[in-house]
Every structure is written in structure tokens, then in C-alpha cells.
Amino acid sequence: MSPAKSTSATARSVTTAHSVVEPSSRSKRIAATLVIVYAVVTMIPLVWIFLTSIKSPPDSISYPPKILFTPSIEGYCNLFTTRTRQTPEYIASLPEPEGVCDAVTRERNMVIAGPSNFLPRFANSLIIAFGSTFLAVGLGTLAAYGFSRFKVPLADDLLFFILSTRMMPPIAVAIPIYLMYRQLGLSDTALGMMLLYTAVNVSLAVWLLKGFIDEIPREYEEAAMIDGYSRLQAFRKVVLPQATTGIAATAIFCLIFAWNEYAFASLLTSGSAQTAPPFIPTIIGEGGQDWPAVAAGTTIFLVPILVFTILLRKQLLRGITFGAVRK
């Protein structure tokens, strides 16, 4: 490297001499600006959703939109409760309100009738998304290991078939799946949704993870097997710890898909197994255009993915640049 470096330094002696490998401070500044601009553009909708969630309903639909406003918890109250309209006389006759939400609701001439469906729907989302991610990554890791290490007959064709499930929009198979699920009694069940998301994600998981496992030299397992471990033990003790980066990256992709999936969720679930994505839009129908409640639901909906991604951020970044710069 050093001769190349010195020639380039001589050639550029008019401008500032700097390393060929290290970006100049100017290009660093340009890069930083671009990243910041892009980050702002992508974050504006999220910020707007969050701000809407802490507006009062009149503020949320005012025109021109309000940038400055008095924050209100009403959206969150409406999200978690169902309410009924009452006469002012009836409300006045009630005992002192219990808690903030009670008070806020009464100001609108309403009383809280009970909890909304949001929490159970949110719980469904958690169970289905994390469950299917666990299954997809688990099965994907084992399959990828098999494809990577063993002589699988027709391995290339099998891998192609696995990928081919991704070659059409999933909704193209919506009707057959709908009919199958009805026949099998899987409609509107958490198990059915988990199986469906696992089936879609497992192809992605196999392909991603095969790449990661291919990069782990076989010598490690061979060494472990000579050191007194069986293949399965070697897989657990040597391959898995080294594949964590890839597993984390794959898990995030699978989780994001399963968490955000809307089409199948609205088609196949309506009651007990409904997930948050088809549920959140229905909030708006309960008592006028309740944008703050919708925004509150969306804000809360973002939290698990955000936490999961932040927890695995290091692995994700390393995972994406895998192969390019590993050592």
C-alpha cells in the first residue's frame, strides 16, 4: 500500500495530502449531511404520528396543522378504552373521576364503558410475530446448515424452489390459503398466522443464513468433532455462537415482516387472533375521526420493533456488511 500512497500524495501535493484509504474531511462532511437529510426525511412522518398522538382530537384535524399545541393524553385514553356518550346531568351526578383518562373523557360528555380491544390485539401481534420469527429463524438455521455442510441431493434446485415462494406477491395465494385455512380450522387462530408467517419467512431465513454459515470455516466443526463432540454438539457449541450475527440480522428482517404484515392479517383474522395492523385503522370508526387514538396505537405499535432493533443494532450492522468486511 505504501508506494501507492506516496505516489498519490506526490501527485496531489497541490491539494492537501491525505491517505488514499481514509476519506477526506470534505467527503466526510458531505456524507454526514446526506445521512442527516435522509434521516430527517424518513423521521418526519414518525414524528408527525407521535405529535398527533399527543394532540387533542380538535387539534389533530385543525387546518392549517398546528405545530404548537397543548399536549393531551386523550388519544391514549381513547385507544385503550371504549366510551359511551351521556347527558351532562348524568355525568355531573357521578362521583369524582378516577384517574386522568376518566376526567378527560367526561370533558367530552362521555364515560368509560370498558377496556378496548387494543391490548389483546397488540398481544396477538407480539405472540404471532415473535413466535413466527423464532420458528422461521430456528428452521432456517437448521436448513441452512444442512445445505451448507451436507451433500443434499438436488441442493441447488431445492434452494431455488425455496426462493420461488418469494417470487410472487404473497397475496396472489390469498384465496387458496383462505380456503385451506377455513377447511383446516386455522382461520382466525394465532397458530395459523404463525405458520403462515413462518412459511413466508423461512425462505428468506434459509437464504440469508446459508450465506452466513458458508462463511464459517468447516475446520471449526471438524476440530470440535475431533475434540470429542458430536456433530450436533459441535453445531451448538461452535457454529451457533459464530452465526449469531447472521441469526440476529435474519431475525430482525423476519420480525419486521411478520410484525407489519397487513394483507393476510386482515383477510384471515377478524376476532380473537386479529393482530394490531388490521385493528389500528378500525379505531378511527369508534366515535368520529379519532386521529389521536390511531396515532397513539401506531406509536405504541412501533415500540417493540424499535426496542428489538436497538438491542440487535450492532449485530444488524455487522450482518449487513457481512462478507464485505468481516475480519
Binding site: P217, E219, Y220, E222, A223, A224, M225, I226, D227, G228, Y229, S230, Q233, K237, V238, P241, Q242
Partner: protein, 338 residues
């Protein structure tokens, strides 16, 4: 410790076994012996080791360790240790954990105190005890290979298999570790099969050297035998620095040769030189290596390289007379003629 016997071991790879990696190898390694397999890339050295280790299964032939036939036995139950050329350490573990890894295996199930004592003892032996808590990826190349050797030693297996363990190191470290490895092997009385393409490693460490070419064991003997008494051209060409000079018969008309000689092999010790204005050869070039000189000589159309004393007063262009003292003779098929 135990002896190792290979009988007619063969292994092919590729579609329908098109590539013969190992071709009918017979080899006996005595208890406590240090045997080096020497050969160029693709000669079947590593495959032989992997067959003994059980990572590969032979197509034909039998392998037994300590009298126990190995057919069908998993690597874990063969009681062997293997040092790989590369990727020798588990990167997600510390030095200590790497050394303890074989002892913690389900095949052994040793208790914590015994493991700890063994690990520390071996760490001292390979001089890595000051870095036990380091991540294995935070070591220099030499330290890594010392740990890798330590991981093999910690087990006290019946045989150690080493696949070019020093080849990825720089020359100085290689020299040091060579000595250390030999010392450790002697101290333990270990049976060791070592694979390399480095003739110096083979010459300095081996009790016996086996020369491999194209999957066959061409010759096996003590380093001295292999060097002084090579069975054929291939073996002669493996050893000696500078490389043996191969001269067509008749280049030096007055040399008496056995009938059927095709090639004469001449190493430095077979070549006598004298400065002489009417000599039959000419000095082409001199490489100064400090303690010695490489003399590049032209004899007719033939080029030769030999060692010369640095005090020898010759310079490029000088005429010299060259004669041979009991060189090696090889026939049409490359076999040695005596």
C-alpha cells in the same frame, strides 16, 4: 500413546472418484515416533491426516491406532488430536476456554479442578500462560498456533496429527516453534504425524520422513537416508537447498555412469569447483547470502546452482573447472540407479 498402522489406504474425490487423493498408502508409525509427511500441494498429505482423524472415510484399506481398527469410528472416539493449518482456534472463546474445550467435551466429562490444572500446565508448556484470559482473536499468529498446539497437547491422545501448523507464520517464529515442538514431543514421548511441504521442518524435526507424490508414499526413512539415498528423482528434488542440479547424461563426458543412466543429480556436496582459465564452466552470477554464496554456473547450455564459500575468489564471467564426486544416477523412469 500408541502406534498407528495404515494398510492400503485409498481415497478419491470428485465425480465418480475421478481424482485419486490417496493411493494405496502403507505406513506404520511406531509409538513415540515423530513422522513427517513431506510433499507438494495436492500430494495427499492432508487427506492422509484427515483419513486417520476420521473426518474422511477411506475408499479402501484399513487404519488402526494402538491395534484398534478405526473403521466406522467417529472422530470423537478415535483418541486423536489434530492441529489445523488455519482457523485453528475457536474465535468466540478465550485462550483458556479454547484449551479447556476438548476436556469439557461430552466424550470426556472431566471435573473442573482437573481441567483447570491441565489447562494451566499445558499453557505453561506452550508459554501462553500469561494470556489465558485473552480473546483468541486478539493473539498474534505465533501465539495462536501455540494455543492450537496446546489444545492438542491438553488431551494426551494416542496420536497427534498436525497439518502444516507452522506454515502461516513468519520465518523467525517458524524456527522458534519448530524447536519448541520438537522439545515438547520429546518430553512427552508423543506419537506425532506431521504434514508439511517445508523440507527444513521435515529434516529438523522428523525421526522418519515419508515422501508423498500424487497420493503415493514414494519413500520413507530417516532424514539422512532420504537425503543421501533418495529412491528416485522426485525424492531427490524434494530435499536440499539449493535445489539438486539435474544434468543430462553426457554433459560431462568423462564421468563414468552406470548403464541406463538418463539423468545425473548433483547437489553442492557432489560438485567440486576450481578456478581455472581453461575450465569447462563459467560463473554466471553470484547471490550473496551472507554466510554463504549461491553460485550460478553455466556448463555448456546447462545452468547449475551450488553453494560456495564466501571467501572463494570468483566473480561473474570467470571460467572454472567443474567436476562431480560420486553424484546420484537416475534411469529413464526416474528411479535411482546404484
Amino acid at each position: 500413546m500408541a502406534d498407528v498402522v495404515l494398510k492400503g489406504v485409498s481415497k478419491s474425490f470428485g465425480k465418480g472418484g475421478s481424482k485419486r487423493a490417496v493411493d494405496g498408502i502403507d505406513l506404520t508409525i511406531a509409538d513415540g515416533e515423530f513422522v513427517v509427511l513431506l510433499g507438494p500441494t495436492g500430494a495427499g498429505k492432508t487427506t492422509t491426516l484427515r483419513l486417520i482423524a476420521g473426518i474422511e472415510t477411506p475408499d479402501a484399506g484399513t487404519i488402526s491406532i494402538g491395534g484398534r481398527p478405526m473403521a466406522g469410528l467417529a472422530p470423537a472416539s478415535r483418541d486423536i488430536a489434530f492441529v489445523f493449518q488455519q482457523y485453528s482456534l475457536y474465535p468466540h472463546l478465550t485462550v483458556y476456554e479454547n484449551l479447556a474445550f476438548p476436556l469439557r467435551s461430552p466424550a470426556r466429562r472431566m471435573n473442573g479442578a482437573t481441567i483447570d490444572a491441565r489447562v494451566r500446565e499445558v499453557a505453561r508448556m506452550v508459554r501462553i500462560d500469561h494470556k489465558l484470559e485473552n480473546r483468541s482473536t486478539r493473539l498474534s499468529g505465533g501465539e495462536m498456533q501455540r494455543v492450537a498446539i496446546g489444545r492438542a497437547l491438553v488431551r494426551r491422545p494416542s496420536i497427534y496429527l498436525m497439518d502444516e501448523p507452522l506454515s502461516s507464520l513468519d520465518a523467525k517464529l517458524r524456527g522458534e516453534l519448530r524447536l519448541e515442538l520438537k522439545r515438547i514431543q520429546k518430553d512427552l514421548g508423543a506419537t506425532l504425524l506431521y504434514v508439511t511441504h517445508d523440507q527444513i521442518e521435515a529434516m529438523t524435526m522428523a525421526d522418519r520422513i515419508g515422501i508423498l507424490a500424487e497420493g503415493r508414499l514414494v519413500q520413507i526413512g530417516t532424514p539422512r537416508e532420504i537425503y543421501a539415498d533418495p529412491a528416485n528423482l522426485h525424492v531427490a528434488a524434494r530435499l536440499g537447498q539449493p535445489h539438486i542440479n539435474l544434468l543430462p547424461v553426457g554433459l560431462l563426458p568423462d564421468v563414468p555412469t552406470p548403464p541406463g543412466t538418463k539423468t545425473i543429480g548433483a547437489r553442492t556436496e557432489h560438485i567440486a569447483l576450481a578456478r581455472e582459465a581453461a575450465g569447462n564452466a563459467r560463473v554466471d552470477w553470484i547471490e550473496h547470502l551472507g554466510d554463504q554464496n549461491h553460485l550460478h554456473i553455466r556448463l555448456g547450455e546447462q545452468k547449475l546452482v551450488t553453494l560456495a564459500d564466501p571467501d572463494m575468489a570468483v566473480s561473474p564471467g570467470d571460467r572454472i573447472s567443474l567436476s562431480l564426486k560420486s553424484p546420484l544416477y537416475f534411469g529413464q523412469d526416474g528411479q535411482r540407479l546404484v
